[in-house]
Every structure is written in C-alpha cells, then in structure tokens.
C-alpha cells in the first residue's frame, strides 16, 4: 500500500516533509524511469515500491518497469551477481548472449524515453546500449569491490556509457571514468515490517513462534549462509550464557532447494545441540510481521557476518530502538556508531564481551537503542532516500 507523504511527518525529522515538497519544486514535471529485474523480493524492490508513489505525489512523472527475463536469464544474472561479488564463477559466451538477448528484447518492448533513467543492479545494465536520450544512472546494491575479472570486464563495458553510478557504500565502488555517488538504502517506517506494533501483538507472534519472553533475547536475523556466521553467534551466546540467563534466536529465510543453506542449517542445529534456549527459525518469504515482532522482542541484535551488503535488517532493528553488536562487514560499519548505537566487534569473544556489558547495564541498553533510532531517523528512512533522489535529479536535469 502506498502511503501519503504527509503520513511521514510523525516519523521523519522535523521539517523533512515540507523540505521534500520544496526540493521537488525544482524538478517537478520531469520524468524519472526506474528499471529493475523484478518487482518482488529483496530490499531494492521494497524501496522502489515506496519511492515511486512518493515521487509521483511530488509531481515527478515516475515509472517503474521490469525486465521480461526467462529462467535462463535469471540463472545467468545470478551467476553474474555471484562473480561480481567475488565468487569463483563466470559467464560463458552462450550465457553472455542470453543476457544481451533479453536486454535487447526488453529495450524493444519498453518505453525508455525519460529525462532520467535509473537502472538497478547488473541484470538490466546492458539497456544503456539502447538509450534514446536523457541522463542514465546505474544503481548498484551489490558489493562489487573485488569482482572476478572476467565478469567485471563484461559489465564494465556497459557502465562506462552511463552518466553516473550510484553505490550504497564507498567501499563497494570501483574505478570507473564516470562520477560515482553514494546513496544509502533505506527503510519505510510505515511498512508492515516496521510499523509500531503493540506489545500484546508482539507476545502473540512470539508465542506462535514458540519463544517464551522470560529472559533477555539475543537475535541474529540473517540468511543461513557461512558469510553470516551463525555458528559464531552460537559461540558468542555460550560465552554470554555463563553470566546471563538468556535466549538466542537465529532467524532466516527457508533453505529449501538451497544446498549451502541446508548445510549451514544442519551445522547450526548440531552446534545448538538441543539447547532449549537456542531457537532456530526458518521464516517464510515476506514474513514481515514475524520479523517486526522478533526485532521488537529482542534485547540485543547480533550481526556476526563476515560479509554483508548494506544489512537493512540492522537498520530495521535500530529503528525499533535496539542496540546492535556487529562486525564491520559491509554496511554494518556505516550504521553502527561504535559506543553510541552499539558496538562493532572483531571476534566471537568481542561479541560476547559487549553483550555481557550491555546486559549488565540496562540504562546503556536504552540509551544506545534510543541513539540508534535517531541515527536511522536522520539517515536511513525512505524520506532521506527520496531527498537524495530529488537532489540527484536536480543536479542532472540542469547539467
């Protein structure tokens, strides 16, 4: 459901909504086309679902189109994304052809006419070869700082044709002969995942998930992947447990048809060794209510990942006033203000030490949680994202 911009007055910093109206005056009437590989799943789709109606409310002629890819194309896109993120993978000549064919077909079927065009992530990147005019941006959400050379060369030849590239973190950027901008992803405070939730509803959801609310809860919300280090979270919990009676909740999406996920999940169950205070949850897709309740019920958020994207799960938890103990991977370092909104740690022992410290200091838990919520309010709400896009439009429509 699209929310009216005015509904954000109670959530965004003071004066933000009026500011957005004024800023949009400078670009109203211009057209802004967004193109992505899909309309559902993942943070990017969530953001666009909110931003497009908001842009239209502000007088921008915003559209969102998606690539009409087939099964083969999505497999190729996945391999391309994996290898751009450093995994040992590459596209064969045949795969490259499939990629180019779908991009060419999409270019014929879509109206690419717009003052500004934003192409999201690698799957539609080759559409630039069919540009008809306007300014074109490539928006990347992936960590492509250390890509496999073969895949990078393939993608780079398209990127150099854009007017600018946009990354979520400076460390994700790459050497390119075009300007590169930094725009953080964002969360929607009015979405089902983040809306205020009464305590009674939180209790009902927790009860349904089989998690008693009798002890402090440490929560790690992440896919069951090696990079997310769920086993490290269990080891940290065991060190905390020596001093504090607490629970650990490891929640992630289901692992069916995912060999890595199945292997990780099996090891997680083995490491938990039947401990009744360790709860391992496989959540269905779009489990927004469950995620909302789990984050609100948690005492401390853990994010022990070795590798991360931006990690909007942490942003969501901070918005709910929870301190975060996390590694420095990906967007965690940008979000956790060490000693202010939580702690950045470099080891299992560090995570346990900080968790113990926080559990011993309920006042500090509250203060850090409050600072985290304000940090998100200023920097990671969808209203800030909208402001960044309007500023980008303003800078390029006048160039």
């Amino acid at each position: 459901m699209a929310h009216e911009l005015d509904e954000y007055r109670d959530h965004a910093p003071k004066g933000t909504v009026e500011f957005l109206y004024r800023l949009s005056d400078q670009v109203a009437g211009h057209s802004f086309l967004h193109i992505s590989a899909g309309r559902y799943g993942g943070g990017m789709a969530e953001i666009l679902r909110r931003l497009i109606p908001m842009l239209n409310t502000l007088g921008i002629n915003a559209r969102w189109e998606v690539l009409a890819g087939d099964q083969e194309f999505f497999q190729v896109s996945r391999r391309l994304a994996n290898s751009l993120q450093g995994q040992d993978d590459y596209l064969t000549d045949q795969m490259q052809e499939a990629y180019l064919k779908i991009n060419a077909r999409t270019a014929q079927s879509l109206n690419l006419d717009a003052d500004l065009v934003m192409v999201h992530d690698p799957p539609p990147a080759a559409l630039i070869e069919h540009r008809k005019g306007g300014k074109w941006f490539w928006r990347c959400y992936l960590d492509i700082a250390k890509p496999r050379q073969h895949s990078w060369s393939f993608l780079r030849r398209f990127l150099v044709g854009y007017d600018a590239a946009i990354f979520s973190l400076p460390g994700f950027a790459h050497r390119l002969p075009i300007p590169q901008f930094l725009i953080s992803p964002s969360i929607d405070p009015l979405s089902e995942k983040n809306r205020p939730m009464p305590r009674v509803e939180v209790n009902q959801v927790l009860s349904r998930l089989g998690i008693p609310r009798d002890k402090p809860i440490l929560l790690q919300l992440a896919r069951f992947e090696w990079f997310k280090d769920p086993l490290g979270a269990i080891r940290a919990y065991r060190l905390v447990r020596k001093h504090h009676n607490c629970r650990l909740v490891l929640a992630g999406s289901g692992v069916m048809h995912d060999p890595e996920g199945e292997a990780v999940l099996a090891q997680v169950h083995e490491a938990a060794a039947g401990d009744p205070d360790v709860h391992i949850l496989q959540l269905p897709p779009e489990a927004d209510v469950e995620i909302n309740a789990l984050q609100r019920a948690a005492t401390i958020i853990l994010q022990k990942s070795f590798k991360e994207g931006f990690s909007l799960a942490v942003t969501e938890a901070m918005w709910k006033g929870k301190p975060v103990i996390g590694s420095t991977a990906g967007g965690l370092a940008a979000q956790i203000l060490d000693g202010v909104t939580g702690y950045t740690v470099h080891s299992v022992e560090g995570a346990a030490f900080r968790a113990r410290h926080l559990l011993n200091n309920p006042g500090l838990l509250q203060r850090m949680g409050g600072a985290g919520r304000e940090h998100v309010r200023r920097n990671f709400l969808v209203t800030r994202h909208l402001s960044d896009y309007l500023t980008l439009m303003r800078l390029f429509v006048t160039r």
Binding site: K14, G15, Q180, V340, H346, H375
Partner: protein
Amino acid sequence: MQTASRPFLFKECSELREILGEEAYDEKRLVELLETVPLDSIYFHTHSYFLRHSYVERVYPNDFAQWVAMEVRDHVLGERLAVVDPFDYGELDALRGQLISIIDDHLSRTPIVPRVMFGEPFYFNKSLIIQVPTRIEVRTLQEFRSALSEVEVSAIYFHVFEARHRLKHEESDFSAWIHDGLGMPDLAEKLRAINPYLGSLERVRSALLTVCDEFLNREHRP
C-alpha cells in the same frame, strides 16, 4: 520590537555525496592524499560531517580524527586532529595545511606508520550541495526565533557552515542579518561567539535559540 527593512530568507540545502575513489589504509597514504584531493573533499570530511550527523554526536568532530582513532586505533593522532577548529582558518587551503602538518609531525615521531589492521580504510568523498529556498521570510527577532526553531536542520548548516566556508562569507548569515538588518550588534556578537564546531547541528540550533530567548526576554521586561 525592532523591524528589519530587509527580511531574512531562510534557505535549506541538500547534499549528494560523490565518491572520489581514493582510499588510505595507513596514515602516510592519508597525508599524501590530503595533499592532492580537491578542497571540496576537505570540506566534506570536516564540515558536511555535521550535516550527516546532525543529531547523534560522535566522539570525534571530523572524519579524519574519527578514522585514525576508531579504525587505525591511533588515539594520539585522533586527539590532535580532533581539536583542529576549522573556524580558526579562513580558507580551506589553510585548514588542509594544518591537517597535513599535524599528521606529518606525528609520523616524524612515530617509529612505524600506523595502519588499519581490522578496521575500514579511509574513503575520500566530496559534497555536492544545492540550495533550497524555504519562502520563510522574517523581519523581527520574534519571527526569526520562531522560524529558527521550525526549519529543517539543513538550514542551520547552510546559514552557519556553508555561508562561511563555501560561500566565503565573513560570518554566519544569522549574525550578519541580526547586525546589519535588524541593527542588534550585541545579539550579533553573542551569536558569533557560538562555536558551531562543538557538537551537533541540533545543539547549534539550541544554542542560537537560547541566545535569542535571552534578548527577547529582555525586550519584554518592563
């Protein structure tokens, strides 16, 4: 109550951050890059820092001090960079020179070049800032005070930080208007005395409002 013949027009601003693609893993590389990056980047890491942390105060008041202290874990250099007050330097070039000189001096006394072991490298960025007029015009101190408490926080940044360094004004737009437009030199002097480099933009707003309130209370006294 005094009324200004020339109104004060509040302006807000919006920042887009540009990645320069230069990064430092140690303090020697940091100082080398400090010498060559555009002045806009020095500005970004020492001034628009406040725009990005308008509410939450970090331990160190600029990105350079924050990085060497928190990522390199060199607290000595972090402390030395933290006390550099950009308002002591009229030009950004002079500020750049001071930062370089402090790091050079520190490195000359350090047997090794401190570097990041477990933290993040320093990424150089720069700001692109656009003005956003608010249509809020004020002519009296009371109106000024009311508007100041309501405007989006970027207006504080624009009229205090941006005015002085990017637009090369001698002082903040607020104190200039209070002095020249409203003809209240005592209040202007008090506003000039507020060092914006101490804390967050919300704290600067609060300090400005406190001084305005003092003068408004005085005016209302019989």
